[in-house]
């Protein structure tokens, strides 16, 4: 089959799956699930084949035109989309299979799989989009699909609130993206992404218009990729089922923001000021989120904070100018983060609790070998300990920061240290529970939600993702020691990777190991207190546990402001416009009544008055005339 066929199959299979699962077979759960997984397999296979096949000319069909502008729906097959598409395809398939086990007992299983297919369709169409309009449409649909999935358990008020929050927060960013894309279209007079990139490639100083466009696009990225100050929706998004979190945090939704930065990398490179601001925001976010993870006890929340922080890392790399570094981390992170979420899901499924201390106390790690293996592979990769993949990609990012200000570099090291620390804290608390330690489980486990040991449907994807993580690690390590001429991901991207010597890498290695060692002494060692250093500083712990009070600040400022304006508008409406109209009406009636009261009802008076007026008129006109 030709690559065009694959490209089309890639996009339309999930759409078809979505329609069949949600509209036709919603109540026949297993049929719906089978259809969606079949569609997911087609997309995954097609995306891998296309990725192996290398860049091809864009496949597109005229969708319609408005005026002289032709809008095409199509598939752009360059190195960036191919790699990302393959990542999305593979991870989505793994998560769909995993959901078979995780969602087996859910009454809304058919609907769930339908939404998963919608999510996949939106994300793939977004990634492969060859023009700005398609980018924007599917960017929005990705947001919609995650709204539906986060709020999947719609009877749970917290899930509904989280879904609402996610949608509105990302919408705030979307304003920027929307305006930015319109201005970009105005500035370049084309919707075609490749032409736009050619226009900006190599131009280092784009001037104020480019800066504004880039800043607006970055606003959209901040919303979608949960960067400060719009990051608060992501931890709450954990209210969705765990497979959704896995999808949301690895290859879709939040990855869309980073991907957009990579997609328009040339444009951002031409906007120096925006790029520097983006770098600062990304670094700040990376540190901020890791501090929150240090005290969190909810396994999914720890992972959520780490996602925010790692997304910050990716944007740091991209903003510092290295497309490869950011992209590499996006890829490695997608796999190990998906893996970690699936692992977390398996533990939660088994123990009925999200609390890492409680999970550890139940001894889950001893019986769940595959899951624990996944936890260690994913965790070590996340912590950036060599020789696993996270180390290589994070090292590339730190290396790419070469010319940046020392504060940024220091920030990156700090975030890397905290990452290693909280990751190993989680690993030790789960795998080396100590009933004697000071840490107390957060209440009894909820047996209603405990479903027993994970089935093959859940273990299979965990194993597969572990293997992929190890494979990427091996390839990168091979490139490093010279067994391979070039890093495979770099060669797909057509970018040169930065070959660092061991000496250059030493600080990164040392920092990561330092974090891990600190975690070992506090949580892993026999007889350790298992409370952590932060717990000894109650003020700091409260600050971190309340997420720096950013949510509270928003609630008391922005949300209060919006509801205040709404209240004022409502008051103006009822008392001003609406009430005003009523007052006009009332005044009319009242004045009529007043005038009526002047009437005696004596006809003779009226006639007499009329006669006198008439006579006066006659006299007056007579004198004039």
């Amino acid at each position: 089959m030709s690559y065009e066929t694959w490209a089309l199959a890639l996009l339309f299979a999930p759409l078809l799956g979505f329609f069949l699962a949600l509209v036709v077979f919603r109540d026949r759960h297993n049929v719906a699930a089978a259809i969606v997984i079949a569609a997911g397999s087609v997309s995954a296979a097609a995306s891998i084949l296309l990725c192996v096949g290398g860049p091809q000319p864009t496949v597109s069909a005229r969708w319609f035109h408005i005026g002289d502008i032709t809008i095409a729906f199509g598939v752009l097959l360059d190195s960036r989309t191919l790699l990302m598409g393959a990542v999305v395809g593979v991870i989505t398939l793994c998560i769909q299979i995993y959901s078979l086990g995780y969602m087996a007992h859910d009454p809304g299983k058919g609907r769930f799989f339908g939404f998963l297919a919608l999510f996949e369709w939106a994300m793939l169409s977004f990634v492969y989009a060859p023009n700005l309009l398609q980018t924007f449409i599917f960017w929005e649909l990705v947001g919609l699909a995650s709204f539906l999935l986060i709020g999947f358990w719609y009877q749970k008020p917290s899930a509904v609130a989280a879904a609402k929050k996610a949608f509105i927060m990302t919408r705030i960013g979307d304003i920027g993206l929307f305006v930015g894309l319109i201005l970009l279209f105005r500035a370049t007079d084309t919707l075609d992404i490749e032409s736009i990139l050619t226009l900006y490639a190599g131009s280092s100083a784009g001037g104020a218009p480019t800066e504004i466009i880039a800043a607006l696009l970055f606003m959209g990225i901040v919303g979608k990729s949960a960067q400060f100050p719009l990051h608060t929706w992501l931890p709450d998004a954990m209210e969705g089922p765990t497979p959704v979190s896995a999808l949301l945090h690895s290859a879709t939704m939040v990855a869309a923001g980073v991907f957009l930065f990579a997609r328009f990398h040339e444009l951002f490179m031409a906007a120096e000021t925006t790029r520097m601001a983006a770098l600062a925001i990304a670094t700040f976010t990376a540190i901020l989120a890791s501090t929150m993870a240090v005290v969190a006890r909810d396994m999914k929340r720890i992972l959520a904070f780490s996602s925010i922080s790692q997304l910050g890392f990716m944007l740091m790399g991209l903003a510092a100018g290295s497309l490869f570094a950011g992209y590499f981390h996006l890829t490695t992170h997608a796999f190990f983060k998906a893996l970690l979420f699936l692992v977390a899901g398996a533990f939660i499924h088994r123990c009925g609790s999200n609390d890492i201390v409680a999970i550890g106390r139940q001894g889950a790690a001893r019986t769940m070998k595959v899951t624990t293996f996944g936890l260690i592979v994913g965790g070590v990769a996340l912590a950036g300990i060599p020789p696993l993949s996270g180390f290589f990609s994070k090292e590339q990012i730190i290396a790419s920061l070469g010319q940046a200000s020392p504060i940024i570099v220091a920030g990156a090291y700090a975030a890397a240290f905290l990452t290693a620390y909280y990751t190993f804290r989680m690993i030790f608390l789960v795998t080396r529970p100590d009933p004697e330690s000071a840490a107390q489980p957060a209440g009894p486990a909820d047996p209603d939600h405990a479903h027993g040991e994970p089935t093959w449907a859940m273990n299979g994807p965990i194993l597969l993702l572990s293997l992929i993580t190890l494979l990427i690690s091996a390839l990168s390590a091979g490139a490093l020691v010279g067994a391979m001429s070039e890093d495979p991901i770099a060669s797909i991207l057509g970018q040169a990777s930065h070959h660092a010597s061991i000496a250059e890498m030493a600080p990164a290695i040392a920092i990561a190991i330092l974090g891990a060692v600190l975690a070992f002494f506090e949580f892993g060692k026999k007889g350790a207190a298992q409370t952590g250093i932060v717990a000894r500083m109650p003020g700091l712990e409260r600050l971190l546990a309340n997420r720096w009070y950013i949510d509270a600040i928003y609630r008391h400022t922005l949300v209060a402001l919006a509801t205040g304006i709404a209240r004022v508008s409502h008051g103006v409406e009822t008392r001003g416009f609406d009430g005003g109209a009523d007052k006009v009406a009332d005044a009319t009636v009242a004045s009529g009544r007043q005038v009526a009261r002047r009437h005696s009802g004596r006809l003779q008076l009226y006639i007499g008055g009329a006669a006198i007026l008439f006579a006066l008129a006659v006299v007056f006109l007579g004198f004039r005339g």
Binding site: V595, R597, R598, H599, S600, G601, Q604
Partner: protein, 101 residues
Amino acid sequence: MTLPAFTMFALLLFCMGLYAVLARRNLIAILIGIELMLNAASVNFMAFNYFVAPDPAVGQIIVLFIIGLAAAEVAIALSIILAVYRQRRAIDIEQLTEVKG
């Protein structure tokens, strides 16, 4: 007899009618006043017709119209007065102030 004499007579007649309409309390009396005013107008028409108009027929036609109108008006007004009397047992205009605000 000259034109001013006729117009003076008509004016006198009109003022008497107007006075009756304004000052009398009995509805029948008011009706008679209206008749007087109409007749004043008729007299004026005839007078001007006789002394001024080139074609005497026009004034006469209008006067005939007025007489016809007056007859109809009396018929209607009397029936209204009767109806009012049946309902209110009075035809005193001081008591008929329904349109008061």
